[in-house]
């Protein structure tokens, strides 16, 4: 296995955040509505992991270091793991495990529908993230995994529809997401400097 420490570091980070939040909740550091805070943080954490995973390809192009691509799958799986926890927190803390209400929410609330579609997309990506699927799907695998851009769009829309009064936080994430998409436009990607050959300053 290449770059074991880099992989391990990311794995530890992925584990540590939810564990830390759970600890904070247990000692009443999350305020009077800890379930809601936990749910929000898990959703935002998933978005952050998604944006980080989308940074890997541009970083690899920029620096030439192959380590970035090596951890991309793990980062993607963390997005999925956080979203699964986010949904569980929603079911438990917000819905109080009221399944009848869930079917109502899934029919009536646009932001829940968009979120559920995003979850489905992530599920497909997670299930086909293994080497076996990569071999089976061949060229189609790459196409299928472009679904990640749709998931990002759905996630940002889901986030936008929760905003009540101030767009600043959302705008920051949306801008970063947009930037990462723009960097993938072939013309833009070609014009990116490649620092690893020149040993110069980065970017």
């Amino acid at each position: 296995m290449r770059y074991p420490w880099f992989r391990l570091g990311i794995f530890m980070a992925g584990c540590l955040f939810p564990a830390w939040w759970l600890y904070e909740a247990s000692v009443n550091l999350l305020g009077p509505d800890p379930g809601k805070v936990l749910m929000d943080r898990l959703g935002l954490g998933a978005l952050v992991f998604l944006l980080i995973s989308l940074c890997m390809t541009p970083l690899q192009r920029l620096t030439g270091w192959p380590g970035w691509i090596v951890v991309r799958r793990q980062l993607g799986l963390w997005v999925f793991a956080y979203i699964v926890l986010h949904v569980l927190a929603y079911l438990f803390f917000i819905l109080g495990l009221d399944w009848g209400q869930l079917t109502v929410e899934l029919r009536k609330r646009p932001y829940i529908i968009v979120g559920a579609l995003g979850l489905l997309g992530l599920l497909v990506l997670a299930v086909t993230s293994n080497r076996y699927s990569q071999r089976r799907l061949g060229a189609r695998w790459k196409k299928l995994h472009r679904l990640v851009y749709a998931v990002l769009g759905l996630g940002l829309l889901h986030f936008l529809w929760i905003v009540r009064s101030d767009l600043r936080e959302w705008a920051v994430y949306a801008f970063i997401g947009l930037l990462l998409i723009v960097l993938r436009i072939p013309a833009v990607a070609r014009s990116l400097p490649r620092v690893h050959r020149r040993q110069g300053r980065s970017a």
Partner: protein, 337 residues
């Protein structure tokens, strides 16, 4: 022969406290309460005083507040079988967008609000318009403690002991004209002390505005509050003067009021202007009319534990239906949400 079997939950005659003793116990408690009240006389205001509520952070009460506090009618209105929300939660989980969009922002940022001196403008369709210094504005009224449920439109709720006086008393004092049909309220606009008003991404068109129909405003449950938990209002809770309308969603209970206007037309209100399909002028707590983005049938009563979420059914008019439902006879509450 009659055989009597006693159930374990029944108490024996010998266990009943004699009435005389019971009454003297009440006298004792009353006496200690009086002692407490004496202790809060000017001079040693609140500092080091045992509070009526646990873990209340002492503030710096303005002189006018300290003078009024001993004459307060404590527990003038209470709620049955409901625990008062801990002070820490009621003061650190707030929506006060003037100080930032997150629940913790008001507690972190509201120190910058200067509440002394403060004045309130009364204008519009009134016989006695004017700008009143806050201490003069509150002078005529005895403080009452009102323990009310507070239901936020975001589906969480608390129980808070307010200190204030009926809005109706103020309105009668300023003599509304026959044209006055609504009351409009306005929050301070001061970007220097209110960081949320400096945000370029805020969707709110400052200043924050709210309104009531005149008969709603005259209802004895509607109060202007100047304190909570036996002390003056903390800044993040809307110091120094705020509205509390317990049968409506929390956003109607406007904070840090600088202007009260009596008007002929229904005033525009902040949230209605921002998202008219989500927030109506009436905003009565109503479990049968959902917010477009979430259900209003239930609420999380805070504090809601991590492993025992405190989710409960929301009550019509937040449990004040007996008192206020008649205000809305013949009104379609589904249309007038």
């Amino acid at each position: 022969m009659l055989i009597k079997l006693s159930r374990s939950s029944e108490c024996k005659a010998s266990e009943i406290t004699p009435e005389g003793l019971y009454l003297s116990r009440r006298a004792l408690m009353g006496g200690s309460l009086a002692g407490l009240a004496l202790g809060t006389l000017p001079g040693n205001v609140l500092a080091g005083e045992p509070s009526r509520y646990p873990d209340v952070q002492a503030g710096k009460a303005p002189a006018w507040f300290a003078e009024k506090l001993p004459d307060t009618r404590w527990q003038a209105v209470t709620v049955q079988n409901e625990a008062v929300t801990p002070f820490k939660d009621a003061t650190h989980y707030n929506n006060f967008y003037e100080f930032g969009p997150d629940k913790g922002d008001p507690a972190a940022n509201a120190d910058s609000l200067k509440t002394e001196p403060w004045s309130v403008v009364i204008d519009g369709e009134v016989g006695k318009p004017g700008r009143y210094a806050l201490e003069d504005f509150v002078k005529p009224y005895q403080l009452e403690e009102r323990v009310y449920r507070l239901r936020c439109v975001e589906a969480w709720s608390m129980v808070i002991p307010w200190l204030g006086f009926p809005l109706a008393h103020v309105l009668k004092q300023v003599e509304p004209t026959s044209k006055a049909r609504y009351v409009r309220f306005e929050t301070l606009e001061d970007p220097k002390s209110m960081p949320g008003q400096r945000s370029g991404f805020a969707l709110i068109d400052w200043p924050y505005e709210e309104g009531l129909r005149l008969d709603e405003a005259m209802h004895p449950l509607a109060i202007l509050a100047v304190g909570m938990y036996g002390r003056e209002l903390p800044n993040q809770n809307g110091a120094p003067l705020r509205l509390v309308v317990p049968w409506k969603y929390g956003f109607k209970s406007i904070k840090s009021i600088v202007r009260i206007s009596l008007v002929a037309e229904q005033p525009k209100t902040t949230w209605q202007g921002l998202a008219p399909d989500e927030y109506g002028f009436y905003a009565n707590v109503n479990p049968t009319v959902d917010h477009p983005r979430w259900s209003q049938a239930r609420e999380r009563r805070l504090p809601s534990g991590l492993f025992s979420p405190n989710v409960r059914e929301t009550q019509m008019f937040n449990g004040y239906a007996d008192e206020v439902a008649s205000l809305y006879d013949g009104l379609d509450l589904r249309k007038n949400y």
